[in-house]
């Protein structure tokens, strides 16, 4: 692969980068070159990540944290080195990073910490020191926003159903920004958790984290940031953001599927009861009861996803070599180009911010007279991979009065030529379906 020094942002060598991603050279549908613009759903993988996984399996594969043989030692070392590498990617400490199956599981791990603490407390069971922070009472409130992915909504709805807590949310404006004016009414002394997205997967909006965190801090709520759409695309530093927990997925940031991450402050992890229980997460077990290992092992029951962790660490290497500021700058340029191009097409309405301020590269739109599913099919026929539907953000679609959208989401290996292809295809949609 070709690594670009972090300080050479001006020399974005797109052809060298694209050469690192074998899938980008394949063709689809009638031998069309692939134009992959569905990166908000999942990213493609560079050879470096694939090689790292393969090398692990070929040389060091073993079950980690058990066994006295050399391979077990090597596998454990690679797994824990990967943890440290990935934690440092977001500015966290190694013992503050928990591996999960995906970001959805990471958010469930957090919501279940509240449920399990509440249920155990009611049953008089033993809880970790400090767990009272996770014990909910009827009338306590959980705050999310109206632009959440279902993964940061449904687990909290479930938690409220089981505990009598009340779900509240910060609304959004017609142009897809957080309605900060309503925040003071929503975040109150009753708020125990504020869990919100850093960047909307549907709208592309980058939220004002500092303002939401300030409101949450004033009332002592636990602050959780869903960073699925930010960690892959911009520099993210958990300490600078002053949050309590960060959740994200590996597969959206050039890493493998099957691995997600939870970073949380050490004192928070220490106070949380376990989520999935079984082997590897215990301290002592008798027939009557068990005690649990300290974090992060407490939250990693069973044999973990070692190869995926090794692959994700390689993805962090790749991204850091490019430089996350440079990645963000490249995407910002593409986003401006895409927004401007879409705005010039008659019958196209952008759903989400139309100006490129505090905005990521996920751009949703609707085409007058043509359903998004049909738009996506037309694009697919030109070799363009777009996402259609409600993007697991159905309430956000409802709020903005659209049943679904078509979404284009460029990433670091896309160039303006990809967007030219996409814009040309979008121009052809209404004539094809007889809507123009």
């Amino acid at each position: 692969m070709t690594l670009i020094a972090p300080d050479s942002a001006t020399a974005w060598d797109l052809s060298a980068i694209r050469a690192d991603f074998p899938i980008l050279s394949r063709t689809v549908r009638n031998d069309r070159p692939l134009v992959y613009l569905d990166n908000a759903a999942t990213s493609q993988k560079p050879t470096m990540v694939l090689d790292a996984e393969r090398r692990y399996y070929e040389t060091s594969n073993a079950a980690v944290h058990r066994g006295a043989h050399q391979l077990a030692e090597e596998a454990t070392e690679q797994y824990e080195q990967a943890r440290a590498r990935i934690a440092s990617f977001v500015g966290g400490a190694p013992d503050e990073l928990v591996f999960t199956r995906n970001a959805t599981e990471a958010l469930n791990l957090l919501s279940y910490a509240f449920l399990n603490a509440t249920v155990k407390k009611a049953a008089g069971a033993e809880l970790p020191a400090g767990a009272d922070r996770f014990v909910l009472a009827a009338g306590d409130e959980i705050v999310v926003t109206e632009m959440e992915h279902h993964a940061n909504l449904v687990p909290w709805q479930e938690l409220c159903d089981k505990t009598g807590a009340v779900l509240r949310w910060i609304g959004i404006t017609d142009d897809g920004r957080l309605d900060l004016a309503s925040m003071a009414e929503v975040i109150t002394d009753r708020t125990r958790v504020v869990s919100f997205t850093h960047q909307s997967n549907l709208l592309g909006t980058i939220n004002p984290v500092a303002e939401v965190v300030a409101a949450a801090r004033r009332v002592g709520a636990v602050v959780i940031l869903d960073a699925c759409q930010s960690v892959p695309h911009m520099p993210v530093d958990v300490l600078a953001l002053d949050i309590d927990a960060l959740t994200w997925s590996g597969h959206k940031m050039l890493g493998p599927t099957g691995i997600g991450c939870l970073w949380a402050k050490r004192e928070l992890l220490d106070a949380m009861p376990p989520f999935i229980t079984g082997g590897s997460m215990i301290e002592q077990v008798t027939m009557e009861r068990s005690t649990f290992a300290p974090p992060p092992q407490r939250f990693e029951a069973g044999v973990p996803m070692v190869a995926q962790a090794v692959g994700l660490a390689a993805a962090c290497e790749y991204l850091d070599a490019l430089g996350m500021s440079a990645v963000a700058a490249h995407e910002h340029d593409l986003t401006s180009y895409l927004l401007a191009g879409l705005e010039q097409i008659e019958g196209v309405t952008i759903i989400g911010p139309t100006n490129n301020i505090d905005r990521g590269s996920a751009v949703s739109f609707v085409v007058d007279g043509v359903h998004p599913h049909d738009v996506g099919q037309f694009l697919d026929d030109r070799g363009i991979a777009a996402r259609v539907g409600h993007h697991c953000a159905w309430p956000t679609c409802r709020r903005l009065g659209v049943p679904a959208t078509t979404r284009l989401s460029p990433y670091l290996y896309n160039g303006r030529h990809d967007l030219d292809e996409a814009l040309d295809a979008v121009r052809g949609v209404r004539p094809y379906f007889g809507a123009a």
Binding site: R29, N30, V370, H371, P372, H373, D374, Q377, F378, D381, V388, G389, H390, W394, C397, P403, A404, Y432, F433, G434
Partner: protein, 166 residues
């Protein structure tokens, strides 16, 4: 594959000018079906009438929103099944389901399926199969619910207008 094999003119025509759209009375059962992957929603009402032991589909009414495939499919279904004997309507439904699920391996029988043969191209696009089936699955569900409800009553006091949601 060619996009025109998916979007045949007859499908686009039904999409733009759907036949029999709009919810009507009387009906036996009303069902609400959604395609959770794309957000398409469809209400389907069925009214069955029994005469001399023969059950006929007296009316299928529908309303909803979705892509051209799901909406045109509902319209074609109305044209094909409205007024049919129930056994014949279910046979057509079966033939349609078989064609759509065939990945392009079944040559559809135009005698049975009429305009619905235009959907044969959909079977080559696995992601669109659910779109084409949405209305038909709702119809089948409504018939099953109507029959299980009417088996609890005599045919004369079947619970007209009862709402059922799935």
């Amino acid at each position: 594959m060619d996009l025109n094999s998916l979007y045949q003119q007859i499908i686009l025509d039904h999409y733009k000018n759907p036949v029999g759209k709009g919810l009507r009375e009387p009906f036996d059962v009303s069902v609400h079906h959604v395609n959770p992957t794309c957000g398409d929603e469809l209400d389907v009402r069925v009214h069955l009438v029994e005469n001399d032991g023969v059950t006929t589909v007296d009316d299928i009414s529908y309303d909803g929103q979705g892509c051209s495939i799901s909406q045109a499919s509902a319209s074609v279904m109305y044209e094909l099944l409205q007024g049919q004997e129930l056994t014949e309507a279910l046979a057509i439904e079966g033939a349609f389901h078989e064609m759509i699920s065939s990945r392009g391996t079944i040559e559809p029988d135009e005698e049975v399926l009429g305009d619905a043969v235009a959907f044969a191209g959909v079977s080559k696009y696995p992601a669109r199969v659910k779109c084409a089936l949405l209305a038909w699955m709702a119809f089948k569900d409504a018939v099953v619910q109507t029959q299980s409800a009417s088996s609890l009553f005599s045919s004369h006091d079947a619970p007209n207008g009862e709402e059922a949601t799935t």
